[in-house]
């Protein structure tokens, strides 16, 4: 079926890889400071912010897991698209959490923890952020490699044979080889170019990805075997019944449990509302020129997020219709459902279109992977290693932090390769990703939102929210490591992933409120940079800070600190930018 991947398709794919890599490497000349490396000098304006946030968050893994979700859940899967889009739109229109985070001047979310709470909260928050985030991206390589393998007709195994004797030397799994090659590619330009490289290549990838998505959608909807929207409806009805259309229905069919159910939907609503805290989102928030631009970015991205989820889900339900009508559906049952969408596209796309779509998906993979590598390495360096080094009386210089960040990029890359090779995901990929996300988001949402909007939020409350918020997810992941099969069965039986995910939010909320009430905020705790929720500005003008404000501030000093003065005890703010919206703020509670 994969014979259609021709020399033309390979040419398109390779041309794209070379172009993206060269551009990424050329960006090295713009890296002059840690602020340039991590947040692109805070010079990202609205359109570029949307392009880079969309480029990052519409990854190949996104397309794969949403397609798998559509393939297994039918139209009901689209309820996640609704929740995702509405939540992002709400955050963009109100500035809920993001405006305060940007205004605080923090470079990472954990850095805000220290500004509002203590270095200890920052350290714990940084550890949870890093662990959850790296576990989350742990399966990206495998999912991306599976897509490329299926869509380009590569075999499962390559046999190396001695050319003289004809003896078999070794059998190499192709999936592992693709994973390694993809990792090397992304590491190369993320390692060198930092955030400037990520932002600029994200733009290129956004354009190529959009073209690929347009082609895939057109052919999926017009394919004769799929039968258009009516054909898809018929297949979903035959295979999934009412649960394929109504997301509130969860029913048993033979041995299988179909549908989503109310518990899953409530969990997803909480998850998407808190997703603006996810480190790659937060890093974009801190990279834009002002809080107003952050709101615009989230509002536009929210609109795009309907399509971000809905389009891959359409491909998934179209794949269900295709293999229902053409036969072969049994090849994608159970854990093989992830391969259905790329196999479907490989069947229906003509020459050239297949190459362009693959280049687009590869673009999606690279844009996500580079940002995630940078995000988690930055968190470990700034929020774990640097504070620990300070505890031992050693302050890391700007240059040292850049070196450490780059080394961490390599280390995380190797871990992701290792994790992807042996970890078996229980249930759908989306369930795993949402669960690892919840480990981080549940606590972070409470710590950030209560820190911004509740003056009584205390250090004890922050610890309580972070610890209790991550426990259900941690238990789920550890259980799946011990027995992926048992967790998979629990998912089918009583929706273990939804219950575990949902539990994280009330636990985090209880931890924050109980901790703050039992151990109230002391007078000597840092003052909250509290901000009110705001509506978008009447005349949205992306404002670009002047060149002076973009210069990196020495890491261990504030703008008013002389070089021969002792470093401030706290907060350890990496870069104090001049906030162009500060003068518009109605009041600031300090």
């Amino acid at each position: 079926m994969l014979a259609s991947f021709s020399w033309l398709d390979w040419t398109i794919v390779l041309t794209y890889i070379v172009a993206a890599s060269v551009i990424g490497l050329l960006c090295r000349r713009y890296i002059r400071s840690l602020a340039d490396f991590v947040v692109a000098g805070r010079g990202v304006s609205a359109f570029l912010g949307v392009a880079t946030l969309s480029g990052t968050e519409i990854g190949l893994v996104t397309v794969m897991y949403f397609a798998e979700f559509g393939f297994t859940k039918g139209f009901s899967a689209l309820s996640v698209a609704v929740l995702a889009g509405v939540s992002m739109l709400f955050v963009g229109l109100t500035g809920f959490m993001i405006a305060g985070l940007r205004r605080s001047g923090a470079m990472t979310l954990a850095e805000y923890y220290q500004m509002r709470y203590t270095p200890g909260v920052r350290l714990l928050g940084g550890i949870i952020i890093a662990v959850a985030g790296i576990l989350n991206m742990g399966i990206f390589l495998r999912v991306g490699a599976l897509f490329l393998q299926k869509i380009s007709a590569m075999p499962e195994i390559i046999n190396l044979v001695d050319p003289i004797s004809g003896d078999l030397i070794a059998s190499l799994p192709v999936l592992n080889l693709i994973m390694t090659a993809l990792l090397m590619l992304v590491l190369a330009y993320t390692f060198v170019g930092g955030m400037v490289s990520v932002v600029i290549t994200d733009y290129l990838q956004f354009v190529v990805l959009s073209a690929g998505i347009a082609l895939g959608t057109f052919y999926a909807l017009t394919n004769h075997t799929v039968g258009g929207f009516e054909g898809i409806v018929q297949a979903v009805s035959d295979r999934l019944g009412a649960s394929g259309f109504n997301p509130f229905v969860r029913e048993t069919s033979g041995d299988a449990v179909l549908g989503l159910g109310i518990v899953f939907l409530i969990w997803q609503a909480m998850h998407w509302l808190g997703t603006s805290n996810w480190q790659t989102y937060a890093l974009r928030t801190t990279s834009v020129t002002s809080p107003g631009v952050a709101r615009q970015m989230f509002a536009f991205t929210g609109l795009a997020f309907f399509g971000r989820a809905a389009i891959p889900m359409l491909w998934g339900v179209a794949a269900l219709a295709y293999f229902t009508h053409a036969g072969g559906l049994e090849s994608f049952e159970g854990s093989k459902s992830l391969a259905a969408m790329p196999a479907f596209l490989a069947e229906i796309l003509p020459w050239g279109a297949l190459g362009l779509l693959t280049a687009g998906m590869l673009a999606a993979f690279m844009s996500t992977h580079d940002s995630y590598l940078l995000a988690w390495s930055a968190v470990i360096c700034q929020d774990i290693i640097a504070p620990v080094a300070r505890m031992f009386g050693r302050d890391l210089s700007d240059r040292t932090r850049m070196v450490v960040t780059r080394i961490l990029i390599l280390v995380i890359g190797v871990f992701v390769l290792y994790w992807g090779l042996w970890y078996e995901v229980p249930g759908t990929v989306w369930g795993y990703l949402a669960m690892t996300g919840t480990m981080y988001i549940a606590g972070a949402m409470m710590v950030l939102s209560f820190g911004l909007y509740w003056r009584r939020a205390s250090v004890a409350g922050a610890y309580g929210a972070l610890i209790l918020g991550c426990i259900p997810g941690l238990v789920y992941i550890v259980a799946s490591v011990i027995s992926s099969k048992a967790v998979g069965q629990a998912n089918d039986g009583w929706n273990a992933v939804a219950w575990a995910g949902l539990t994280g939010y009330p636990l985090a909320l209880a931890g924050m409120i109980a901790g703050s009430l039992i151990w109230p905020r002391r007078d000597d705790e840092p003052v909250a940079p509290a901000v009110p929720m705001e509506m978008p500005p009447q005349t949205p003008q992306p404002r670009v800070p002047d060149a002076e404000s973009l210069q990196a501030i020495p890491l261990e000093s504030t703008p008013t600190t002389q070089s021969d003065s002792p470093p401030p005890a706290e907060p350890d703010v990496l870069t104090r930018d001049t906030d162009t919206d500060a003068e518009q703020e109605p009041h600031r509670d300090n």
Binding site: G43, V50, V199, N246, R308
Partner: protein, 55 residues
């Protein structure tokens, strides 16, 4: 809601989302092209300011 209602709802959502996505994609692609140039000029100029030429 009956299944027919859900089908109608998903039809509007699906095609609305697809249309909206591509409208935004085109607008963002054009707008961001200017922003890329602006960002690079900004980074270059900040470097110039921090390292002024010697008289």
């Amino acid at each position: 809601m009956t299944t027919d209602h859900w089908i109608t709802f998903w039809w509007y959502l699906l095609y609305g989302s697809i249309g909206l996505y591509f409208v935004i994609a085109v607008a963002v692609a054009i707008g961001a092209a200017f922003d890329v140039g602006k960002l690079l000029r900004l980074l270059t100029s900040s470097d110039d300011v921090s390292n002024p030429p010697s008289p």
